[in-house]
């Protein structure tokens, strides 16, 4: 569904992603794990059209994403839930969601928008209760739900999530990960960037480990969870247990 070949991303003269190749198949949850500055979010920016300076190939279904800006990427069927949520705080929850369907509303598909809204409310009933409330008054978890809901309003086939667990209590992280599983069951493909490797690998099918702009490890999520290097670098508690056992 998404094929990335020899992707190099640049910030001016600095190469932040150094020739990575990865693929995402339909209805998969793929996670990218790695430390801060390892290039995960840069990759998300390149896919979503925010970062224009890259070389290599990014193909989504039949579309070459080269030269596409974010609205074109959304129209092609990819939505990003950005790091830090980036909701519109003074606007109501309803307006935030409506704007998520901007590209659909422009094409006059109003019935589909109502259906999308109903689906989002099914997934996150709390958003229906808070519909007329300014988005900035929601709790952190609710804001994350709104950010995911807003991205879903465009009816994407591929959902990109950049650090959805950031700043959330463990219970909420679990809930968000549960929602991702539900979305996958409904046919959505998900590419998830996370520093909370344990949470991400617990829901993912496969994962890629990033280090300083390169992929250093890839494989099934279960294999990565039991990999010694991954345990040492990203699953601190498990590593201690692992160390004790040895």
């Amino acid at each position: 569904m998404l094929r990335i070949r020899n992707l190099k991303c640049f910030y001016g003269q600095i190469m932040a992603v150094k020739g990575i190749t990865l693929s995402v198949r339909e209805k998969e949850i793929i996670t990218l794990i790695g430390a801060n500055g390892s290039g995960k979010s840069t990759l998300m920016a390149a896919i979503s059209g925010l970062l224009p300076s890259w070389s290599g190939e990014i193909r989504f279904e039949e579309n070459d994403l080269k030269g596409m800006d974010p609205p074109a990427v959304v129209k092609a069927g990819i939505s990003l839930v950005p790091e830090g949520r980036l909701i519109f705080p003074p606007m109501s929850v309803y307006d935030n969601l409506v704007l998520g369907a901007y590209t659909m509303l422009r094409s006059k598909a109003r019935n589909e928008v109502q259906a999308s809204m109903a689906a989002v409310f099914d997934l996150f009933p709390i958003l229906k209760e808070r519909c007329s409330q300014p988005a900035g008054t929601l709790s952190g978890g609710e804001q994350q739900m709104l950010a995911i809901g807003r991205a879903l309003m465009a009816k994407p086939r591929l959902l990109l999530l950049d650090e959805p667990s950031m700043g959330l209590a463990p219970m909420l992280v679990e809930k968000i990960m549960g929602v991702l599983l539900t979305l996958r069951e409904k046919g959505l493909t998900i590419l998830l960037v996370e520093q909370n490797a344990r949470a991400a690998l617990s829901v993912a099918d496969r994962g890629y480990v990033f280090e300083t702009g390169s992929i250093v490890l890839e494989g099934a999520a279960d294999d990565l969870l039991s990999d010694t290097n991954v345990k040492r670098a990203y699953l601190g508690k498990d590593y201690e247990e692992f160390d004790d056992e040895n």
Binding site: S48, L50, I87, F88, M91, Y102
Partner: protein, 291 residues
Amino acid sequence: MQEFLQYLFSGITNGAIYAVIAIGFSMLYRSTDLINFAHGEFVMIGAMTMVTLTVAVQVPVMPAFIITVVGVSILGLVFERMAIRTVRRPEPIVLIIITVGASIFLRGLGMLVWGKDSHTMPAFTAHPPLDIAGARLLAQSIWIVAIAIAVAACLHLFYKRTLTGKAMHACAINKQAAWLVGIPSKLMTLLAFGLSTGMGAVAGVIIAPITMPAYDMGSMLGLKGFCAAMLGGLGSLWGSVLGGFLLGILEALGVGFVSSGLKDATAFLLLLLVLYFRPGGLISAVKVKRF
């Protein structure tokens, strides 16, 4: 009392004009973070076009009003496409200097097209002035205030109720987030220019009958509108309306009860006080940082 009322009416009338100009500044700033120092010239072009259409071409007031506002809005779109979007490195200071240059250019163009003389046009309707407690209120003043409030109310509804209005508001809150949900931010910027210059045209049209429009009227009106926008809160619709009326009334009372020499000084004194004590304006729409 009669004297006070007379000054008050005058202040409210001028205030309404400042409010419409301030709305133009604010709506553009809200969507693009840009202050258009050529905004006053769009007011001038609006006034001069209205005079030309109604006096020289004999177009009735209502169609002339619409043609002027649409025409000046299109000019604003052309200005954005040709002078703003083509800038290779659109840093704020570069864009501001471009708008200052555009202001000088448009003023010169106004002089070439309409000459150096002042022009006149009749009021929208020929009703006699109303007598309220001895003070006279011109019918045109009622038109001005009514149109200013109607314009603000329409814009309020536009931002709250329409998808395009919400999208423009979203761009103003966070351009990157708006872009990510599929809102074409460049189109929104273009629309903001059209809307802003259209507001300038409205101000020019309503002021034309009570002033004697000339090619050089835009600079001072632009500065007053800017002061009003700063006073109320740059970026805030109702803040701009409040700032406009407050500026107009204080200016008129200053002229009446202190000194007529204070007319223009009032605006800039208020601007200095606002910048010092409350840089975000009375109704803060944006966070302001001091250097």
